[in-house]
Structures are given as C-alpha cells and as structure tokens.
Symmetry: C2
Subunit: 275 residues, 2 copies
C-alpha cells in the first residue's frame, strides 16, 4: 500500500497534526478503475465544500496530481484522499495561515461476493443514534467516532446497517447512503442535520433523472424503508447494493436497483464488480 504525504512517499505524519489532535480534516474514498479515479470531479467538489466549511486551504492541482499518481497502473483499487488542517495553532485555535497536510493512500479494492450486487444484502439497524449538527452535516470530515461505534454494533450476518437520528428518522448506512423505491420513484433522506452527502448518492440521483426516474428528498422512518418496494445502498466503492432483507421485511424485486447499477457500470463510474 502506497501513501503520499504532501506528494512525497511516506508512512508517517506529525504528532502535532490537527487532524490527529482534533479530527480537523476532510477525506474522500474513491474507486479506481483502469488507472482512472472514478467520479474525481464530484469528489473534488465535495472536498472543496468541506474545506470551505472547515477553513482548510485546498491545493486542488496538487491533490489531483497525487491521486492520479497513485491511480496509475491500477486496474481496480481504492484511494483515500485526506486533507488535514496541518500543524500549529494553540489548542482549539486554528493557525491564521494553516498549512494543510495532504495524505493520499492506495488500497486494494475490497473483495465482496458478486451476490451482494446480484441478489442483495442483509441490512441491519445499529443502536447508536446519530447526533444532529447542521454545521457539519453532509461533509465527509474526520470526526467519525459515531461510525466506528456503529460499525462495532453490526451483527455478524449483516452486510450493512442503517443508522437513525435521535428523532427516529433513517439517515444513512454505516458506510453508505440509503434509497428506497416506492411506486417507481426513489426517495432518500435530505441530510440537512446529519449524515454524509455521498458522491454516489448524487450520482444515483442524477442517473435516475437521466433514466426518467424521479427522486424525492424526504424524511423516512424505518417503517417506510421496510414497506418499500425496493431498498438499495450506495457508496463510491461498491456503487449500488440492493437489499434483500431488513429485520422481518424481505425484498424480492431489484428491478430499479439493477437498472441503476447497470447504468453506472456502463457509464464507468464504478469498476465492474464482475471483472
């Protein structure tokens, strides 16, 4: 596994980095297919937004260069691109002119059975309720304790698990976004007070639009999800996973989920899971 720290191969960074001290960072996890980082522009756009909210200076050319360097000669891989606030400052006070630390690392593409895409996954529900924080909602920042706790609550047979907020709204999967299909239309939570605005989530909304499928952003309860015609989970690495069961609910048709999966594979926004 290769890592570039500020464009130089390295495997260490400063103990005084504010990313380590306070989680003051943003990151993107993206698939690589045939030496090309998938959905790079969309990842860079979310990175720009996160950096703008947190005040981290982003050198976009250097970021793209490091990502493309690691993607070279990779048929199928995953890249994590992190940007931290760097060193300096006093306590919680960020330095006036921060020097960001850029950490870009290459990882193997995860091995999942093709049945996850073809026959659906088992979806659970974690106990932890996500906190509402509109100031940080949507951003993929480095404060991810809730997700590590959520992940520790998975049962062994689950392949992904929903997290609800403290008002019983379904928000997202532990490492994915959730969509339901109802009467031929999509619905997904709006994520104004918590959750991550996934790059694949946006891609799916856009792809559905091109296929003539409408998407509503709306509050969803667990009962709404269980009563849906189809449920599917999305992220930048796996694309679309249909859900075959959630608690006592089972789903037998994956028609729209598979239509969207086929569309994004044909448009090369994820690696082909069969390849």
């Amino acid at each position: 596994m290769a890592t570039l720290v500020n464009s130089v191969p390295a495997n260490q960074t400063s103990v005084n980095d504010r990313g380590l001290l306070y989680g003051q960072s943003i990151f993107e996890t993206m698939a690589v297919a045939n030496s090309t980082p998938c959905l790079l522009d969309a990842h860079l756009q979310r990175m720009r937004k996160g950096c703008s909210v947190l005040g981290i200076p982003l050198d976009i050319d250097a970021m793209v260069s490091d990502i493309e360097t690691l993607a070279q000669d990779q048929e199928k891989a995953v890249i994590r691109a992190t940007l931290t606030m760097g060193e300096g400052g006093r306590g919680y006070l960020t330095p006036e002119h921060p020097q960001a630390t850029r950490i870009v690392s290459l990882h193997p593409y995860p091995k999942h059975p093709s049945s996850y895409w073809e026959n659906g996954i088992e979806l659970g529900v974690v106990d932890i309720r996500l906190a509402s924080q509109p100031a940080l909602a949507g951003i993929k920042h480095g404060n991810r304790l809730e997700q590590t706790i959520a992940r520790s609550q998975w049962h062994s047979n689950w392949h992904e698990a929903l997290a609800l907020d403290q008002q019983d709204n379904v928000i997202e999967g532990t490492q994915s976004n959730v969509f339901i299909v109802r009467d031929g239309e999509l619905a997904t939570p709006g994520l104004n007070s918590c959750g991550v605005l996934g790059v694949m989530r946006e891609t799916i909304i856009d792809s559905a639009h091109k296929l003539g499928i409408r998407t509503q952003l709306m509050s969803l309860s667990l009962a709404d999800v269980q009563a849906a015609d189809e449920v599917f989970m999305t992220n930048s690495v796996i694309g679309v996973w249909p859900v075959k069961c959630l608690n006592s609910a089972s789903f037998n048709t994956f028609k729209i989920s598979h239509k969207l999966l086929k569309y994004i594979i044909e448009n090369e926004v994820i690696p082909n899971y069969k390849a």
Copy 2:
C-alpha cells in the same frame, strides 16, 4: 517541546493511525507543578472511562511512566496525554485486538495575565450549537471539530466563550466548564447528552463540598447565567477564572469563585498563577 510516542522520543506517527483517520482517540490535558502532574489520578480515571466506552486498550503503567518522565524537572508546564486506537482494521471496523498508540507531549504553561484570576474574564457566547450524543457525552475524545469551530467564533475581546446545545441549554465553555453561584450555592450543567466532564469540574464540586458549599447539577439557560451572583469557568490548566462580564451582564463579586481558587491553589491541584 518533547513528545514520547509509545515511550520513545518521536515527533511522527503512522498515517494509518485510527486517531488520524477517524478521531478514534481520547486525550487529557493536565498541568504540571514542581515536576508533578496535577490531579493525575482523576485524569487517569477519566481516561479509563473514555477507553472503556471507545474500546481502546489502556496500559495504565506505561501511561503514568510517560507522563512522569515528561513532568520531571518542570516547574510549571502542560502535558497532553493521548491514546489512539492505533493502526489496523478495515474502514470503520476496529481491529479485534487493537494496539493503541500512546502520545504524551510537553508544552509550555500558557501565559495569561494574573487579572484573569483576580478581576475576572470577559465571557462570550459562540454561535455553534453543540450536538446531543449521549453515547459520547462526558468523554474527552478526539472528535473536536465543534470546539475548533467554536474557538474560531470568539470575538477578539473574549477570554472564553459559552456554547449552548440545540435546546438553548448552556453546556460548557469552549475549553472549560461553567459554574454559577446563586444564593451561596453552585450550579453546573449535568452533561448527560453533550459536553466534557472536566477533571477540574469534579475537583471544584468536591472542593465546594469540603468547604460546605452545595452544588446542583441542573439545566441552565443563558438568562440563568446572566442573572447569577457569580459565574466562573474551570479547567485543569487554569483552575478557576471568575467571569466579570457576559453580554450586558456584569459581575462585581467573586467571593465564592476566589474562595474555591484559593482552596485549590493551597491544595496544589493547579500551579500557582502568581508564581
């Protein structure tokens, strides 16, 4: 500034450390007076609790040894002791047998005018509202984006600033806890859904008890704080700072604040600010 990483002098740590990737860590900031870490047992106790909640294995002897090594020959200083989940795992999934990373660093004691202790500070109120997350409330963990945002919202004349939760309850200072004095008794927020259970907060409650002053844990509004007889802020480094003004409210008596400050200085739980 000296730093020990797993007991060895170092200034770098792995780019794959889960403290850096996800803020999966706890930390303590403690004062050192005359080569002795102040309130060490109380800091270790909070560390134990945080590690237990997050599942980070704590080698207490090694932690104490590293802290005491750095405290040696320091008349007045600050030590930050961090314990991260270390490397390994897959994404949000923590490794089954994590190897924690221990990072203990020595810093100069901050220079503040003695008037902050004697004549009180100017207290502001930040815009960001703290998120409610009972699963993490009280713990001094590494997900501190809210505090860095709060700190960035201070006006230049403020010396500390209150943060409220989303239901308008006063929770804490940006880097301290808050107490009010009303009719000769103390009141401070209970911190069950957000905020940090400060080591100095506990020490003050205990000291007040010994001095025959009762403390109530209760919800406080900003109006309650403004209408108090006295207001003071506490943390492990500064001890007690009385508040002289908050918005349009000003406070002219520091009788109980100063009684508590005198008591903790005499009991050597903070360095003497005059020294």
